[in-house]
Subunit: 469 residues, 2 copies
Amino acid sequence: MKRYEKFADEIAELIRTGVIAPGEKVPSVRHASRTYGVSPSTVFQAYYLLEDRGLIQARPRSGYFVHALARRQLHEPDIGQYASDSVEVDVSELVFSVLSSLKDPDMVAFGSAFPSPNLFPLARLSRSLANSARDMQPHSVIADMTAGNPDLRRQIALRYMVSGMMLPLEELVITTGAMEALNLCLQTVTQPGDLVAIETPAFYATLQVLERLKLKAVEIPVHPREGIDLDSLADSLQRFPIKACWFMSSLQNPLGASMSDEKKQALYALLKQHQVPMIEDDVYAELYYGSQPPKPVKSFDTEGLVMHCGSFSKCLAPGYRVGWVAAGRFAEQISRLKLMTTISPSVPAQAALADYLQHGGYDRHLRKLRHALESQQRAMLASAARHFPADTRVTRPNGGYFLWFEFPTRVDSLQLFQHALAQGISLAPGPIFSANRHYGHCARLNHGHPWDARSEQAMATLGRIIASF
Amino acid sequence: MKRYEKFADEIAELIRTGVIAPGEKVPSVRHASRTYGVSPSTVFQAYYLLEDRGLIQARPRSGYFVHALARRQLHEPDIGQYASDSVEVDVSELVFSVLSSLKDPDMVAFGSAFPSPNLFPLARLSRSLANSARDMQPHSVIADMTAGNPDLRRQIALRYMVSGMMLPLEELVITTGAMEALNLCLQTVTQPGDLVAIETPAFYATLQVLERLKLKAVEIPVHPREGIDLDSLADSLQRFPIKACWFMSSLQNPLGASMSDEKKQALYALLKQHQVPMIEDDVYAELYYGSQPPKPVKSFDTEGLVMHCGSFSKCLAPGYRVGWVAAGRFAEQISRLKLMTTISPSVPAQAALADYLQHGGYDRHLRKLRHALESQQRAMLASAARHFPADTRVTRPNGGYFLWFEFPTRVDSLQLFQHALAQGISLAPGPIFSANRHYGHCARLNHGHPWDARSEQAMATLGRIIASF
């Protein structure tokens, strides 16, 4: 990372945290150069970059100013009131009917679960695939199935280490994407009929998996910015024989909430007190906008209670289907369960990722990706403020590529979904994020695709449909 | 396939079926040329090939003779007597302890589940990987996850078509190896506690999966040559509420038995009569030795009752983790279950196989592979006759790379397994193939590795350990 990029990120952080407010002037080049001990040309380059990222704008003869916010801004939603004691999950059919509508590539993909594939270094990955396949030892084609590619395992452990977590290699189980990891974890610590604490709203696949495994959900509300409501969780852990928690503590899907380190630590203390294992779904970990990666709850784990699930699917290589779990005390059981179900993720795909992580410039790619997603978020927020009713509420996550909209209660998001589909626009309606089909007036919109005139037009169309309710 | 290769295969078939007996002279070049209407040079080339494959040998001034059989031959086993009504399965721990012993690459790999990776066209596959990755459209990286690679689907359907089966593309679900296909099928048609008819002896993973899903096994004996005992199956279907059958109708693991077409048809009639779905594990389908591929039970299926599971792992690309199921009436359910568990096998691995199937020379590779496995089988059979006690029995499968040995009953194959391990030789002891840990005097030996002095020595060592009981 170059000096000016680092400096740009520092200024971006000041803007993001409100230290320099929208409309305010950023320090002059001379002033910044003196204050921060960097050369004027570094400051210039940094300001060009920030301008490029849409954070500041030059005013002739006046210097650089933080982009004024859109004329009007939508408010954030409040924390939801849909906690539930213990419910059967029955939402899978609805989810499938929504997902199957996403197949059309000509659709405006606000409903997609992935960022645009054009944001990923596919050509560079192909080279890694070719390189590593050429060098592959015949023996390893079979041996790497049970053990996993040793280089990939080391690279993943190294990334944990860089973020301050010393992870014994034996804890790592490489899986066919995070989805398999989550499934294996849940099956390892539960039996049919057991209670599992999940978030509300929750990632719809969580609900589907619970339904499939005949598990019951205890729903814990999520604050749109601060994450899981710990009082509610403490209460539920007290009252119910909860066998596992399945949470996203950072960049929660769909709300985008990230718990503070203090809250994460308190959450772990609760788990430890009740000796309840936690499945930590952390697939958006690399997509934070600030300069500091969020810590996972796993980083506070002293007893191997947390199964930390990660993946390359959302940040590097969708379709390669390689994920992992740092599985604490459950690693051996999970590994065995994997041998009985899929045996192994693709060995050449593992080798390609190992090669890419070593030589491909992963951190450089991630910085570019984060900046793209951040500027697309600003574009969607501004567009929503232009086209959606003023009493619409929306989250402002500090990472990822989802916004969660709460429309006025007269809006039926399943109808909105149908009308939008007819106009060639997909979205993820609120009810697929709830075991009880709550959130009937909410929707998750994906801003993972480069923002263009078509996106803007689609938002205007959505605005018109919403106004018609 | 060249003319002389075709002619060599015809002669090989005559030898295999006993039309030309061991020790007998094969037709002279002039005679053969006249009788079969091929040129003398074609006959010469064919005989060289057959000599190379160890089927015939030249005697100076006398011509070519079918290889005399080893001085003595071991007998075939009888059909087992271990049918069971309905048993809990509890063998997983034992299987894992055996499997974990196979990791050492310096071991003589008689216990392995795979043929030698050196028998696969890994370099050509790497090229397919590089080609297809280079040409991949960004959109398809994501789209191919849910639908599967369209070219691969077409190629698989084409192979069914060539073997006389018209398969609607919608029936095909691409999976992370056959193991995932088998798991998905079983979960789709059963609930915990249900009864499933399986073979005895059975592939150990079948037993593990039943145990994991809390299913009960009804064990149907398998004849070492003729396959599943249909009387026993008919009786069990009559007496028990069997929810599914999980069978290998061709090249059954571990016995190598293949049912005749008539028996397969009769089996299907039974299934249809009782409306019981069948999971057909057909992963060795391409490894037949004769000139005719065996038909699957699926080819008689008129009601979509049979889920036919295949894979490239045993015949082309171990480690790529790409398999499929032609799932009949269960395709939609299986496809949905897959979306909830692993979503998709690796997209680049799918694309590589599609490219290879189109351009790589798959049929040529398969012919070479079959010939290698057949000549290695002959070598292991001859070696066993030299080193094992005369009252040892052994199967003579018409394909694949496993032999099943029944040693004298005083031999404890779990002890044999331990002693052999200490000598650097792995094997698969009989009890891992049975829900009740029967077959304590049996073992499965893999002849999927090129036969050499070390293999011969290992057989001698096994013979000494066996004699010590």
